[in-house]
């Protein structure tokens, strides 16, 4: 199989599973306990938290360990909106991940003021519209670093600078789930208050993520209980997951400059090979402000569900970018927000590359795509 769906999830990097194993076997203790096996687990947890914090320039107590991206997005938005009695609104962007959009819609349904801002044809958020939607009621804005379907990179530094100038009291959240492999993420350099990450998008385990919460940021918890994570997220710790997350973050950070060059080159080669043979293919991923590892292509006249089925049977794993629980390809809200028609979104396929992608498999996959497109036309 040639795996080109790294934006969905990635294989775990070498050594990480082995590093996690002891914390489900010998050191299985509940990190809140008073005996040796628990103390050792607690120690491993806090050591992992320090390593995690260090990779993004945060302090350990600013890391809330969660089950992953969706939970972190929920905690950021609901936690911020529900913690204040005066500022309860949320402003976000039409192309955000469902975890942000659906949480925003939930807050709207329970009566909080919310607003969605559009994007241009390349998928970039219009900063003036974004600022225009922020009012005295706004608790938080949420803008992702890097879009999961197209790979467009939002101009977060400009957004943060503009927000701080105009609306200093409003919290800023970013879903950085797709960005950790390729982008230097330092919470102070970014200047955000809340940041979502999850391990499995960059070679870590599934079920282990985090929400960075800048010191002093008010946050209502979603999970009430034993008071773990300084009361911000109750529940017995996933110590093995935390260790795996720390390992993966360090490995991915150390691999970043290679990733940007090599994986970027692999993606570019794949793109050039396809476009050279099929000049009518439309590249939905913008030319500038793009990640090195995403590529969203539209094949006019070919329905993506057909192409994906044929790719699967030919041993290539790709995606429509947006799939529902049943697995059926859906109309992409991201591409629609960029101005594509529903039919055009149904002709679009996402190829996403990762830490284990190779030149040879990208070339082979491009040739398989070309062969199938010829058959399907």
């Amino acid at each position: 199989m040639i795996y080109l769906d790294h934006a969905a999830t990635t294989p775990i990097r070498p050594g990480i599973w082995e590093a996690m194993r002891p914390y489900s076997m010998e050191v299985f203790g509940n990190s809140s306990g008073v005996h040796d096996v628990s103390r050792r687990a607690k120690n491993a947890l806090e050591e992992a938290r320090e390593r995690i914090a260090a990779t993004i320039g945060a302090r350990p107590q600013e890391i809330v360990l969660t089950s992953g991206g969706t939970e972190s997005d929920n905690l950021a938005l609901k936690g911020a909106a529900l913690s204040s009695s005066s500022r309860r609104g949320v402003v976000t962007v039409a192309t955000e991940h469902e975890a942000v959009l659906e949480t925003t819609d939930y807050l709207r349904r329970i009566g909080l003021p919310t607003a969605l801002v559009g994007v241009d044809r390349e998928g970039a958020v219009d900063i003036d519209s974004l600022l225009g939607e922020v009012t005295g009621d706004t608790a938080l804005i949420s803008v992702m670093c890097l879009n999961n379907e197209t790979g467009v990179v939002q101009d977060l530094p400009r957004i943060v600078a503009a927000m701080r100038g105009r609306h200093p009291g409003v919290l800023i959240h970013t879903d950085a789930v797709q960005a950790f492999s390729s982008h230097d993420l330092d919470v102070d350099a970014l200047g955000v208050d809340l940041l979502t990450l999850t391990g499995h998008k960059f070679g870590g385990p599934k079920g282990a993520g985090l929400l960075y919460v800048r010191e002093g940021t008010p946050l209502e918890p979603l999970h009430h209980g034993g008071g773990q994570e300084l009361g911000r997220r109750s529940g017995t710790h996933n110590v093995a997951g935390a260790v795996g997350l720390a390992e993966a973050m360090e490995a991915a950070k150390a691999d970043r400059s290679r990733f940007r060059t090599e994986v970027g080159q692999i993606r570019d080669d794949f793109e050039k090979r396809v476009i050279a043979a099929l000049p009518d293919v439309v590249v939905n991923t913008p030319q500038r402000m793009r990640s090195p590892h995403h590529l969203n292509l539209r094949f006019p006249g070919i329905r993506n569900q057909t192409l994906l089925m044929r790719l699967d049977r030919a041993g290539v794993a790709a995606s429509a970018g947006s799939a529902c629980q049943s697995g059926a390809a859906q109309v992409s809200h991201v591409l629609e927000a960029m101005g594509l028609t529903a039919d055009q979104t149904r002709e679009s396929v996402r190829f996403s590359f990762g830490w284990d992608s190779t030149v040879d498999e990208a070339v082979e996959a491009a040739d398989i795509v070309l062969g199938l497109v010829e058959v399907l036309r």
Partner: protein, 349 residues
């Protein structure tokens, strides 16, 4: 042979796929996603859990065949649901399952066979097709009580040549026992009798929600034109209907005509229900040859075939028949063999 198995998540299509695989063919399972919610509302959470698709997926995994969910919600809405609403609003009684077979299942899946890199389509219908002397014929299923040849009566030679009905030779009990021997999780699954997009609700409520403009109140009149009551919308009525008419008259009354133009429901005595024949449209012939003369005609999904004579686009019953509803399908038989099918455009006395 590479086969595309349409898997609904029911026992028949599970066994159809399983038998095809067992016979040594390469099978690709697909489930069609046709509808997103009871009111057709956009799913809010990116959720379109076709719960039946889950059973199909598990059966496919057990059979170790690739499996996909294909989205045909657009085609289904345009070709089936809109038409269902339009037909009722026009005073006809549609059969959406047949429209779905025609415009979605067979049209899209057979039309897409090459794209899907398959040679035949396999379905779980209780019907049989035979290839003799270069001609494909469509026969009733071996289990007469479960026979579905009526809903397939619009298939023609090229479609029959590319379709297989592996459970058509089995009884329903036989299908369940094969499923149970193979350990398929759908072996004991109850049958769905609902119109899929209407669900367990009343179809009239569906129409009121979906197409409120089609549900206009109007008069209920006797066959001599006297108004004897009011109705909330003609979509609530079907030719031959006796209950729920909302009027109290001495002797039993039946819906004998629906005048969509005047939004009027016409009631009559039982003897006014009888029609001498049917004006047909969209005639198709399974073997490509127009039939003429004496046939057996079935004009309801679970009705018995009756003797009739075909003259071009007119079907004359051997004796008058009741409750023949425009919009329904009529299938023509010669014994077990389906000759063809048509839609009931109108009736005549």
């Amino acid at each position: 042979m590479r086969a595309l198995a349409a898997m609904s998540g029911g026992v028949d299509s599970s066994v159809a796929a399983a038998l095809t695989k067992q016979a040594g063919h390469e099978v690709v399972g697909v489930t069609l996603k046709l509808w997103s919610g009871p009111n057709g509302e956009a799913p809010t959470a990116g959720c379109c859990t076709v719960s039946d698709a889950e059973d199909a997926r598990r059966v496919a995994a057990q059979l170790d065949i690739p499996y996909y969910v294909l989205d045909y919600t657009g085609e289904f809405r345009d070709g089936v649901v809109d038409r269902f609403v339009h037909d009722y609003a026009s005073g006809r009684t549609p059969n959406p399952c047949i429209e779905c077979n025609r415009t979605v299942k067979f049209d899209r899946l057979l039309g897409g066979l090459a794209e899907f890199d398959c040679e035949v389509l396999v379905t779980g219908h209780h019907a049989r097709n035979r290839h003799e002397d270069g001609v494909w014929s469509l026969l009733r299923g071996a289990d007469r009580a479960k026979d579905q040849s009526y809903v397939l009566s619009m298939l023609t030679q090229p479609e029959l040549a590319s379709t297989r009905f592996p459970v058509g030779d089995l009884t329903k009990a036989g299908v369940r026992s094969v499923a149970s021997e193979m350990g398929l999780r759908t072996a004991a699954k109850p049958e769905s009798m609902d119109i899929c997009f209407v669900g367990q609700r009343d179809y009239r409520a569906f129409l009121r929600d979906t197409a409120p403009e089609a549900v206009q109140p109007g008069p209920v009149v006797d066959s001599d034109g006297t108004e004897i009551g009011r109705h909330e919308g003609i979509v609530g009525f079907t030719i031959g209907q006796r209950r729920g008419l909302g009027v109290a008259v001495g002797e039993p009354r039946f819906v004998v005509r629906i005048d969509a133009g005047r939004s009027t429901v016409v009631l009559g005595r039982r003897d006014e229900l009888a029609v001498a024949g049917i004006k047909l449209r969209q005639l198709t012939w399974t073997n490509g040859k127009k039939a003429t003369g004496r046939v057996m005609a079935q004009y309801r999904a679970h009705g018995e075939p009756v003797a009739a004579t075909l003259h071009d686009d007119r079907l004359l019953f051997a004796e008058p028949r009741e409750a023949v509803a425009p919009g329904q399908t009529v299938a023509f038989y010669d014994g077990e063999r389906v000759l063809g099918g048509a839609l009931i455009a109108d009736t005549f006395v």
